[in-house]
Symmetry: C2
Subunit: 407 residues, 2 copies
C-alpha cells in the first residue's frame, strides 16, 4: 500500500485543508493519507481551538486515514525543528511521499533555493547575524539576508511562511535520508475559483477562528467554509466542553506562574533570552489580559509568535534543560485515530514501522511523551469544571479514535 | 514610654481580641500596644479573609498603636518557629512585656511545665519519636508523650493550641534573652459573662468566618461579635475588592501548579515529605475543589493544618532550599500601620530599635521581604479583575496606614 504524508494543525479542519488533502492523494497516487498533527498546542505558541481528539475526528471524517501526534517538543517550535520532527514521523510511518502546501507551488524553485543556500551558507549566516544584531527579528533577518544575497526571481519567496516550512521539510528529508518524495501544492487563497472551491468556500483558519470567538450568530457564517463534520464537531465541543480554547483562558495561570517565579527561575524556561525575564515580570503585574500582556512585552526584536512560544513554555513549565540535548527526530508514533483503511495499512506494514507505535499511554515511557501528557493536562485547565474533568480523564483513558463505516 | 506586645492574626478582629487587647494594656500598665500580625497568609496554612492592610486598619481602630508584619517565613509555620519570629520582632520593637491568651491563664503553670520539660527533655523526645513512629501526627504525639510522662494537674494542658503557643513564646523569650516579661490572659469562650463581654458578644474567629462565607443575610449576624469598625471594614472590603479570600479562590492555581510539576519538583517544596508528592499529584487530577483535594490527601499521619501549609508553600513556590539555613529571628520591622501615639513612640525610641525599620518597600532588600512580596502578589490573585489589580498595586505603592484623630 502506498501512503502520502501531510503535516497539519487542522485548527480547525476547513475546505482549504480538504482541497490540499484531495490534491495530495491525487497527485501522489497513494492508497491512504497519513497526517502528523500537532497536539493541543500549536506552532504559533497557542492552544488549539479544540482538543487533538476532536481535530482527529475532523481529519478522519474528511479523508485522512491515520493521524499521529506531533509531540509538543516539535509542534511548538520554529520551522526547522518542527519540520525535522514531522518528517521523522511520516518517514517512520512508511510514507512514500510528503505533500505540503506552499505559496510558491513550484518544487523546482524549492530545489534551486536549497542548492543556492547550501552554496552560499557562510555568507547567508553572516548576513543573518548582521541583521539580528541590528535588532531585527529572526524571520525578518532571514528574509533580508536572502534578499541581499540574491534578488533573482527563480527562487521561492523566502519570506512566505509556508514556503519556509516547505524548505525545511525538503531539507529534513535530505538530512534524514528519508525515502519520501516531496511534493507541493499551491495554497488556495481568497480570489481562487474552480469547480469545487472558491473564495466563497475557502477562508483561512485565522478568519474562521475569529468568527468562532465572535458573536453567537457569527458561528453560522463558517458553515460554508468547513466540511459538515467539522461544523458538527465544533458545535459538539462547545456543548460538551463548554468553550473553545484561547490564550485568554490561560492568562490567570500564566500570570500566576510568572508572579510566583524569581527572575532566575524565569531564565530557566526554554526560549527565554537574557533580559526578557524582567520585561515579563513587570508586565505580568500590570496586564489585565493576555493580549495586553503581549502588547506590553512586544518589541521589534521578537515576533509575536516567538513571544507566544516563550509564554507557552512558561505555562507548561518547559525548561531549557528539558529541551536541550535531545535528538532532532521523534522517539515514537502516537496514534490518535484511524479509519478502517488506516488500520489495514498498519496491520500490513506493522513490521516496517521504524519507531514504536503507541496506542495506550500506560504501555510506554518517554520524556517526549511525558511532556505531551503534561501539556494536555494544562490544556484541559483552560476549561471550567465539567469540561476540564472530562478532558483530563480523556488524555489517559481514551484509546485512538477508530472511524468505521463508509467514510 | 512602656509598650506591651501581642501576637495576632486578627482574621478578623473581633470582641474576643478586643478583650485580650484591653486586658493586656491594663495588666501591663503600658502606654502603647504593639501587635506583630501575620501578613496575608496564616499559621493554619490558609489565606486571611481580607488583606493585611484592612486587618491593620481594624487593629488600629480598636486600640493597637503599632502593627508590624510577621513575615511569611514565620507566620505560616508550626508553633515554635512562629513564636521565635514573633518574639524577635516584639523584642526589637522595644516591648517591655508580651501578653498572650491561653486556655490555662496561669503563668506559674507555664513556668512549671517549661521546667519539667527541660528536665525530662530526653525522655520527652524519645516518646515523641515513638508516637510519630506509630503514625500519629506531630501535635498528637506531643500531647500523648506529655501525658505519658506526667498526668499531674499542676501543669498546663499541652494539647490546647493556645497553651502550646504560649509555651513557645516563653521559651523563645528565654532563648533570645529578651527582656520582655510574659503575661497570660484566660481566653474567653462561649459561656463566659462579665460586664462588657458575654457569650452573646464573643465568638471564635472560625464561626465569624463561617458566617461571612454563608448566605448574604448571615453577615448581619456577626454585627454584635465584632467592633463597629471591623464590620465597616469587612463591608468595604467586599465592595472594593469583590470578595473575601478563601482557599477555594486559589484552587485553580494550586491545581495548575501541581499538574505542571514533576514529582521531583514537588519534593523540592518546603514541608513536602518523601512520598507525599505522588499523593498530591494523583489527587490534583481528580479533585474538583480544594476541599475535595484536602479530603483526598488527608491521612492520620498529617494534620489538616500541616497539609494546608504544604499546599500553601507549593502555591507560593516556597522551596526547602529557601527556608533552610535561615536564622530563627526576624531581619527587619515592617511597619504596616500606626496611630499618633504609635508614631510618637517610634520617634522617641527610634535609636533603640534593634532591627531596621521598613516603611517603604523599595528602600530595603531582604530574602524574607522578597518572600512576603511574592506571597502578597499571589494573595491578590485570589481576587478577580479590578480587586486584583488594586491589591497588587497596593503592596508596592502604599505607605503604612496612619490613623489620626481621637481613636
Amino acid at each position: 500500500m502506498k501512503a502520502v504524508g501531510v503535516v497539519v494543525e487542522y485548527n480547525p479542519f476547513h475546505n482549504g485543508h480538504l482541497f490540499h488533502l484531495q490534491q495530495a492523494k491525487e497527485q501522489s497516487g497513494a492508497d491512504i493519507a497519513i497526517a502528523v498533527m500537532s497536539g493541543n498546542f500549536l506552532q504559533r505558541g497557542e492552544p488549539a481551538l479544540v482538543s487533538k481528539w476532536t481535530r482527529t475526528n475532523m481529519a478522519l471524517s474528511a479523508g485522512v486515514d491515520l493521524v499521529f501526534e506531533l509531540p509538543y517538543r516539535f509542534a511548538t517550535q520554529h520551522a526547522e525543528t518542527f519540520a525535522e520532527g514531522a518528517v521523522s514521523i511520516l518517514t517512520a510511518a512508511g510514507c512514500n511521499s510528503l505533500f505540503f502546501g506552499s505559496e510558491s507551488g513550484d518544487l523546482d524553485a524549492f530545489d534551486r533555493t536549497i542548492n543556492f543556500l547550501e552554496k552560499n551558507n557562510e555568507k547567508f549566516q553572516e548576513q543573518i547575524k548582521f541583521y539580528t544584531g541590528e535588532g531585527f527579528s529572526y524571520p525578518k533577518s532571514i528574509a533580508l539576508s536572502f534578499q541581499s544575497l540574491s534578488p533573482s526571481e527563480t527562487f521561492i519567496d523566502i519570506s512566505s511562511p509556508n514556503n519556509i516550512l516547505g524548505l525545511h521539510y525538503i531539507q529534513a528529508i535530505l538530512r534524514q535520508n528519508s525515502k519520501m518524495r516531496p511534493g507541493t501544492i499551491t495554497r488556495k487563497n481568497a480570489g481562487y475559483h474552480d469547480e469545487h472551491f472558491s473564495s466563497a468556500t475557502i477562508a483561512s483558519a485565522t478568519s474562521i477562528r475569529k468568527a468562532l470567538f465572535g458573536a453567537p450568530g457569527e458561528m453560522d457564517s463558517i458553515r460554508q467554509l468547513v466540511p459538515g463534520t467539522t461544523y458538527e464537531q465544533l458545535l459538539r465541543y462547545k456543548e460538551v466542553y463548554g468553550e473553545f480554547h484561547s490564550w485568554e483562558n490561560y492568562w490567570p495561570l500564566l500570570k500566576y506562574k510568572l508572579l510566583q517565579s524569581s527572575p532566575a527561575e524565569i531564565r530557566e524556561f526554554y526560549e527565554v533570552e537574557e533580559g526578557l525575564e524582567n520585561r515579563l515580570l513587570s508586565a505580568a503585574s500590570e496586564a489585565g489580559s493576555f493580549h495586553h500582556f503581549m502588547e506590553a512585552i512586544k518589541t521589534k526584536r521578537y515576533t509575536w509568535t516567538r513571544l507566544q512560544r516563550v509564554c507557552l513554555h512558561i505555562l507548561t513549565n518547559t525548561k531549557k534543560a528539558e529541551m536541550k540535548n535531545t535528538q532532532n527526530t521523534a522517539n515514537y508514533l502516537r496514534l490518535l485515530g484511524a479509519t478502517e483503511k488506516g488500520r489495514a495499512y498498519l496491520n500490513s506494514e506493522k513490521k516496517k514501522l521504524s519507531l514504536p507505535l503507541i496506542s495506550k499511554l500506560s504501555a510506554f515511557s518517554d520524556p517526549d511523551l511525558q511532556l505531551d501528557i503534561r501539556a494536555s493536562k494544562i490544556f484541559a485547565l483552560g476549561l471550567t469544571d465539567a469540561g476540564q474533568e472530562r478532558l483530563l480523564a480523556e488524555e489517559f483513558s481514551r484509546p485512538p479514535i477508530m472511524l468505521t463505516g463508509n467514510e
